[in-house]
């Protein structure tokens, strides 16, 4: 493994230590890591495996005849379709295997990356942040053992998933060679991002920052490939590890060599992680901790100002992220109509439903941007819960600050912050879209389209507030809202979910601007529901015991 090769490169103080020395205890730590993750990782792996298998099963029933597959290939052949799936080359021979590689690989890559990143940061930075690493490192454990063990656990999980997928899909008759490559592609992308997390875990001293930075890299990789595939610009997609694995053209051409790129990047990142880890102290980040102001500013000592202070870095990160994502999608908006104006049947279909190709593409992008904003909203709305858990709510609520104002100020930041993210995302896609399509009116219309999702974000905040107020120990269940919105809004149309599945999610009621018209009724109803949920949540919090450490 790369761990052994890079360990010998440790700088001066390590000279006396042998390569085996810096890795002492790795084996025990791997066993310990597997023991700690004995539920978590199997659940991840099984969920990913079953999700793939059931999707392939669905293809069989939905697209039984060759003409069905030809028609779905035709609908996929649009910027919107390509942005949410993969490169166009798959469409030439759209069998079940090609459909799986085209529609599932990019989406699954994000989830596999998430599993790998969380695994690595949990076993490295989280251990240091909680001071458990210090205790472990005081025993006979080498300098690189923690990182090596964390990477080993992540690699192992990815290999198990790869093997399961290869066997499972092979058994479903998709072709043994292709299935092996399909599984290996998952492992490749998972290992790349595990190694990316090995780098980000060295930079910041907080777990949240380490996994957040790595997830931002995943987001960038996804947006690069989406923009590249939708705009037909291969160069952009070749910048992304997700683009690489999609360019194996699994089940079509079965090329293995793009996975080599993943391997090289993984080795480089892991090496960088090991080297960086020797440039810092246990528990510290690469940046030295700074001192700050000895007194508080006036704004900080007001409940809302204080909540803003706690939220501001995350809000700024998400704001920059959604603006760039929007701008990236917006920049290919102009090509959307261009690419498709020669394909008559599609133009015909669009004229019937109303809206242009660019508009339907924009509507699809809005769902994605709104889901990303809702991830922020859930994190922000659950902040009071994490403050309570950490024992930091107790001293504040022993002052003249009422419970409603304390929790309310965090919820207010979630409400306003989510709306701000929509505004930024809309401006990003609007400004870039206006430039690429040469239509300045898009700035306003696309910003408005993004803001139409605000009531859905407010309902999301409300759901988190109710859980916090009444079922604080189950507050994390609020994550179901963005996850469900993503599955129903993004995969639903692909897999032809029944109509009611969409309506369960608040996002399903939002008018799909700009391809559909504005409808104020659902927006008003969602806003009222949100207000009701927020009131209920605060009322519950007012009545319950504060959980103290």
């Amino acid at each position: 493994m790369s761990a052994a090769t890079t360990a010998t490169r440790a700088p001066a103080p390590a000279r006396a230590v042998t390569a085996a020395g810096v890795l002492a205890g790795t084996r025990t730590l791997i066993a310990f890591g597997l023991r700690r993750d004995r539920v978590r990782l199997p659940v991840w792996i099984l969920a990913l495996f079953l999700c793939t298998l059931s999707t392939v099963g669905n293809y069989r029933t939905l697209y039984a005849g060759p003409e069905d597959r030809a028609s779905v290939a035709a609908t996929m052949d649009s910027p919107a379709g390509l942005a949410m799936t993969g490169p166009r080359h798959y469409l030439d021979a759209y069998g079940f295997g090609a459909m799986t590689g085209h529609q599932m690989l990019g989406f699954m890559a994000v989830l596999v990356a998430l599993m790998s990143i969380l695994t690595v940061t949990r076993h490295t930075r989280d251990e240091e942040e909680t001071n458990r690493a210090e205790l472990v490192r005081s025993t006979v454990v080498g300098r690189h053992a923690h990182l090596a063990a964390a990477l080993s656990v992540a690699v192992l999980a990815n290999l198990v998933l790869a093997l399961l997928l290869a066997v499972g899909l092979g058994a479903m008759g998709l072709g043994a060679g292709g299935s092996l490559l399909y599984g290996a592609s998952h492992a490749a992308v998972g290992i790349v991002f595990a190694c990316v997390a090995a780098v980000t875990a060295q930079i910041t001293a907080q777990t949240r920052g380490a996994s957040g930075t790595a997830l931002a890299v995943v987001g960038l990789a996804y947006v690069l490939r989406a923009a590249g595939d939708a705009g037909g610009d291969d160069a952009l997609s070749w910048l992304s590890p997700i683009g690489w694995v999609q360019r194996t053209y699994v089940y079509v051409d079965d090329r293995w060599w793009p996975l080599l790129l993943c391997l090289v990047l993984a080795v480089l990142c892991a090496g960088a992680g090991f080297v960086l880890s020797t440039r810092r102290d246990v528990g510290a980040g690469l940046r030295a901790p700074r001192t700050g102001s000895p007194v508080a500013s006036g704004a900080l000592t007001r409940p809302l100002g204080f909540a803003l202070r706690l939220h501001r870095s995350m809000l700024a990160g998400f704001g920059a992220g959604v603006f760039l994502m929007g701008a990236m999608y917006g920049s290919i908006l102009g090509q959307a109509d261009e690419m498709l104006k020669d394909i008559d049947p599609i133009q015909e279909a669009l004229r019937k439903t109303g809206g242009t190709m660019a508009e339907s593409f924009a509507s699809m992008v809005m769902v994605v941007l709104a889901v990303v904003a809702s991830v922020y909203v859930v994190m922000a709305a659950l902040r009071p819960r994490s403050e309570e858990n950490a024992g930091r709510a107790e001293p504040l609520l022993a002052t003249g600050l009422s419970r409603a104002r304390w929790a309310g100020s965090h919820l207010a930041v979630a409400l306003a912050g989510g709306t701000l993210l929509l505004l930024l995302a809309g401006l990003g896609i609007g400004v870039a879209g206006a430039a690429s399509a040469g239509d300045s009116g898009l700035v306003l219309s696309l910003t408005g389209a993004a803001l139409a999702y605000a009531p859905a974000l407010w309902v999301t905040t409300g759901v988190a507030a109710v859980l916090f107020g009444w079922l604080p120990r189950a507050a994390q269940a609020a994550w179901a809202v963005p996850v469900y919105a993503f599955v129903a809004g993004y995969l639903g149309p692909l897999l032809r979910f029944p109509g009611w599945t969409k309506n369960v999610s608040p996002f399903g009621h939002v008018p799909q601007l700009p391809s559909a018209g504005m409808n104020w009724t659902p927006s008003a109803v969602l806003t009222l529901v949100a207000a009701g949920l927020l009131w209920l949540g605060l009322e519950g919090f007012r009545r319950r015991d504060l959980e103290c450490k």
Partner: protein, 318 residues
């Protein structure tokens, strides 16, 4: 204003099957320093959190400055300051910012007093929360609480993690607060600390008050252990009132003696000892643990063996 700062009677609070409070009584007079003693898990923190309106009691009555701690929580909090036993700070905020935040949310603090206290406790207010050690986090909460002009201070094992020098500073500061007419409820499991500061003491165990009164009233509970080397073997000490478990060993012409003596009879016992020619003298102040064991050990033993009715579970709050 009433003369009683805190009145609590028959307080019950359960967490699932754990009975943290089991009919607790507590009375604190305005202007006094009241020691709130008990072993770990006795229910001290739970009581204080009920008084802060952070927890809601299952039954029983509690009044703080004449008001209900649950319903009038916010109004009451403007008149009190709290120091938890385990202070958690915001990793990204400096200690100074945390002090200002807490004091201004309480309704403002005296800036000169804040700076003076920061100085006396040797606290660097420019460091970020994550960089502080346990003792320094504790200092942040102590400075924030004492810089305010709150009339009631609720201190829950406030000096855990402080070094002995800072412990002395803390005692000075509390005595100044007392001189300024403030009421202090000081929870602790260190009897010596409470003896130095408290006017009256309540001892709780298993969520119930077992003893309450002024220190002199409780004097009979405190038994000091004396160890001495004498010129001649100390004989006859066991005949003195209030002297217990005397062990004398002869060593050449002189001898060693070890005995325990009740607080009220210390003077007589030491005078008698002096007659044997004292070469060295060590006295061990009674610890709360010894006290609890001696006075309530039989109850403990009974609970451990046969069930005496109540199903107490130790633990609950810290």
């Amino acid at each position: 204003m009433t003369t009683k700062a805190i009145t609590v009677s028959g307080l019950h609070k359960s967490f699932g099957r754990t009975h943290a409070l089991d009919g607790l009584d507590l009375t604190v007079e305005a202007g006094e320093v009241h020691g709130f003693l008990g072993p770990n898990g006795a229910g001290k923190s739970t009581t204080i959190r009920v008084l802060l309106g952070l927890l809601r009691a299952d039954s029983g009555a509690a009044q703080l400055l004449g008001k209900d701690p649950w319903h009038d929580a916010v109004e009451l909090h403007r008149h009190l300051a709290y120091v938890p036993g385990d202070v958690e700070l915001w990793p990204g905020l400096t200690g100074g910012e945390a002090i200002d935040l807490l004091s201004r949310l309480r309704g403002g603090a005296d800036k000169r007093r804040r700076d003076e206290l920061t100085e006396r406790f040797g606290l660097d207010p420019t460091k970020k929360g994550r960089a502080y050690s346990k003792g320094n986090r504790q200092k942040v909460a102590i400075v924030a609480a004492l810089a305010s002009d709150a009339e009631l201070l609720l201190l829950d094992e406030p000096t855990s993690g402080l070094d002995p020098l800072m412990e002395v500073v803390f005692q000075d500061v509390i005595l100044e607060a007392k001189a300024a007419g403030r009421t202090v409820l000081l929870s602790s499991h260190i009897l010596a600390q409470v003896e130095k500061l408290a006017d009256r003491v309540s001892i709780i165990r298993l969520g119930r008050t077992v003893q309450s009164g002024s220190l002199s009233e409780l004097r009979h509970l405190t038994r000091t252990t004396i160890e001495a080397e004498t010129d001649r073997p100390a004989a006859g000490l066991d005949r003195l009132p209030g002297v217990h478990s005397v062990e004398v060993t002869a060593e050449g012409a002189g001898g060693r003696v070890r005995f325990a003596v009740d607080g009220g009879h210390l003077d007589t016992a030491v005078r008698e000892l002096a007659g044997f020619g004292v070469r060295s003298l060590i006295s061990h102040p009674p610890t709360l643990e010894e006290l609890m064991l001696r006075h309530y050990g039989d109850e403990l033993a009974a609970n451990r063996h046969g069930d005496t009715g109540g199903t107490h579970t130790r633990g609950g709050a810290r």
